[in-house]
């Protein structure tokens, strides 16, 4: 029984130390900085061929729908979004593919994107890979405005 207690207390102490250690040190740049948004995706994260303009880029005030590239969310499948823009203004973000949707991630990321009018979003803890892929796809769509 005593050894069981030691095992449990040891786990608790170890966990506290590990997480505590990550609380020290300088605050990292906004989460986007740790996941740089590369407008030209690496070969492994190449946008799917489907990624294309669904309307003419010339019309600057018309409301258009642009499909972003599909990006791998490391083991969670691909993520691909479609944006609705009027001129440069981002009206809406719709998810085309996202097999794993933890933490209400699509809605939370959409809110952030609409508020910031950009692809610079805060990564959702618990949906890190999905958030990153979402930002990349969003960025690739916004780049085609």
């Amino acid at each position: 029984m005593r050894r069981v207690l030691i095992a449990i207390l040891g786990t608790a102490l170890g966990t506290a130390l590990l997480v505590g250690a990550k609380a020290l040190g300088p605050s990292p740049q906004p989460a986007v900085a740790t996941a740089p948004l590369d407008p030209t995706p690496s070969p492994t994260h190449r946008p799917s061929p489907k990624a294309s303009h669904t309307s003419s880029p010339k019309a600057t005030t018309k409301t258009r729908t642009i499909l972003g590239g599909a990006f791998s969310a490391a083991g969670f499948g691909d993520v691909q979004v479609r944006v609705v823009v009027t001129g440069q203004h981002l009206d809406d973000v719709q998810v085309v593919q996202m097999s794993n949707r933890p933490l209400n991630a699509p809605e939370r990321l959409r809110q952030q994107a609409l508020a910031s009018q950009s692809a610079r979003l805060t990564i959702i803890s618990g949906a890190t890979y999905t958030s990153r892929a979402y930002m990349r796809s969003l960025q690739s769509a916004l780049d085609k405005r």
Partner: protein
């Protein structure tokens, strides 16, 4: 009490029997490796290494200084406890895989102790994992924890089954509490333990679908871990038992009464000399009768393995053991084993002292045949009617120079108190410090005797204990 001078007489086997060890050595069928301290050390080192890798992946995935808010801290604690519980669950299944390598190189005592510690760790860390993550997500969303939980259940992949798995684990954890364990029948306890496999099945989905540290580079490590554990499980639970039972085709030969509530089962089979078992080891026995086929129980051999038969001795304590008394000759038996390192090969000194209580006498009785002559036995029982094998012990006293002290009486009676005190033990066995000591009996007696032996300066490495409570 019981009739017949030696087990060989009762079974009708030749009275004069060859020395078991010489016989098996001559057959050359097997080499039994004694429980190895090296193996145990390597196993333990690998356990810590694996844990370090699992947590190392988390460490690298978590940028320094990224834990800024309470929500961050709660979520990271949830992640770490999740990794620990997933790892501990796999180790737990590995410990119970019955892999021969483990069963014979690590004493059953250690396996049971680790199983208990690991089990507690799995349950506590799983509960912490769930609680911390839900609290963390709720804090992040500024939402009440109940609605956050519902959101998680609705939107997360494979999360419902993971919640079911947590419920099962909590149930198993509750059973481990002694007070609860005492009122639950073995059968219920057994089936809930089997549900651990369901936990593995129900929980792996969410681990791989949602676990940040199981994606990317960590994925290969976890897949390797799962594959290794499942292979061990398959080998230990399917391949090995299948091989043993197809080869030896065990059947009940006879059931013989030993005392008022104790009886022996003699087992016959093919090529038993190639079984590779030693006195002091146990098998897990499954008797294929109408209501007993689904459960298997560990029983030690109560006589050194013979080329024509094996014997196990059982005390009727519950429904299952009571029914075993009425086994018919010819009933099929499935066995898993041999297991345990409570063998004569552990011996380091020329002579041994063996202390037995209750049905702990069974492996001690078997060991006497394989230990060198000159051993001393202290046999503890509360009433004379509980003593069994008295005529066999007489036979061993004659043929193998064994000295037997019967210590009979209640725990508080002066005789037993004296016999198991440092002074008493030193008087009964003056050279105790120069002997190996084999202990088998209820936990209370074994640990009390260990303390006395330590007082008498018996080195720890000369004290061999067999777990009596399975």
């Amino acid at each position: 009490v019981s009739a017949g001078a030696s087990p060989a007489d009762r079974f009708g086997a030749p009275r004069v029997r060859a020395d078991q060890r010489a016989l098996r050595a001559a057959s050359g069928a097997h080499v039994v490796v004694p429980p190895s301290r090296t193996f145990k050390a390597v196993f333990v080192a690998n356990f810590w290494l694996g844990l370090a890798v699992a947590l190392g992946v988390w460490w690298l995935n978590t940028p320094s200084g990224s834990v800024q808010s309470t929500a961050d801290a709660l979520i990271e604690v949830g992640r770490v406890t999740g990794l620990v519980s997933g790892y501990a669950l796999l180790v737990q299944v590995l410990l119970m895989s019955r892999l021969g390598l483990l069963e014979r190189n690590v004493s059953a005592n250690d396996i049971i102790r680790w199983h208990r510690e690991m089990g507690a760790t799995v349950i506590i860390t799983v509960l912490a994992h769930v609680a911390f993550l839900l609290a963390g997500y709720a804090a992040q969303d500024n939402a009440p924890i109940v609605s956050e939980t519902l959101l998680v259940l609705r939107t997360y992949q494979d999360i419902v089954s993971a919640f079911v798995a947590t419920g099962i684990l909590a149930g198993i954890g509750l059973l481990a509490v002694r007070a609860v364990r005492a009122i639950v029948s073995y059968e219920v306890w057994h089936f809930l333990h089997l549900a651990t496999y369901a936990v593995l099945l129900l929980s792996y989905g969410h681990q791989f679908a949602l676990g940040r540290d199981l994606a990317g580079p960590g994925r290969a490590f976890w897949i390797a871990l799962y594959v290794a554990v499942l292979l061990a499980l398959f080998w230990g639970r399917v391949v090995d038992p299948l091989r043993l039972n197809l080869r030896h085709r065990l059947r009940v030969a006879n059931v013989v009464a030993e005392g008022h509530d104790t009886f022996s089962i003699y087992i016959r089979g093919h090529r038993l000399d190639e079984l590779g078992a030693q006195a002091g080891q146990f098998f897990r026995w499954r008797f294929l009768t109408r209501n007993g086929w689904w459960q298997s129980h560990p029983f030690s051999l109560s006589a050194a393995p013979h080329h024509a038969w094996l014997r196990l001795t059982i005390k009727a304590v519950g429904g299952h053991t009571e029914r075993l008394r009425h086994l018919q000759p010819g009933a099929r038996v499935l066995a898993e084993g041999p297991s345990g390192g409570f063998t004569a090969e552990r011996q380091r000194r020329p002579r041994a002292l063996l202390i037995a209580a209750g049905s702990g006498i069974a492996p001690i009785r078997a060991l006497l045949e394989e230990l060198p002559p000159g051993a001393t036995v202290i046999y503890r029982a509360s009433v004379p009617g509980d003593l069994i094998f008295t005529d066999e012990l007489d036979w061993l006293a004659r043929t193998r120079d064994t000295r037997v002290h019967y210590v009979v009486g209640s725990r508080d009676a002066p005789g037993p108190q004296w016999a198991l005190s440092p002074a008493g033990l030193a008087a009964l066995v003056p050279d105790v410090a120069r002997r190996d000591v084999y202990l088998c009996g209820p936990e209370g007696l074994v640990s009390a005797a260990t303390d006395v032996l330590r007082t008498l300066r018996v080195p720890r490495r000369h004290i061999h204990r067999d777990p009596f409570e399975f």
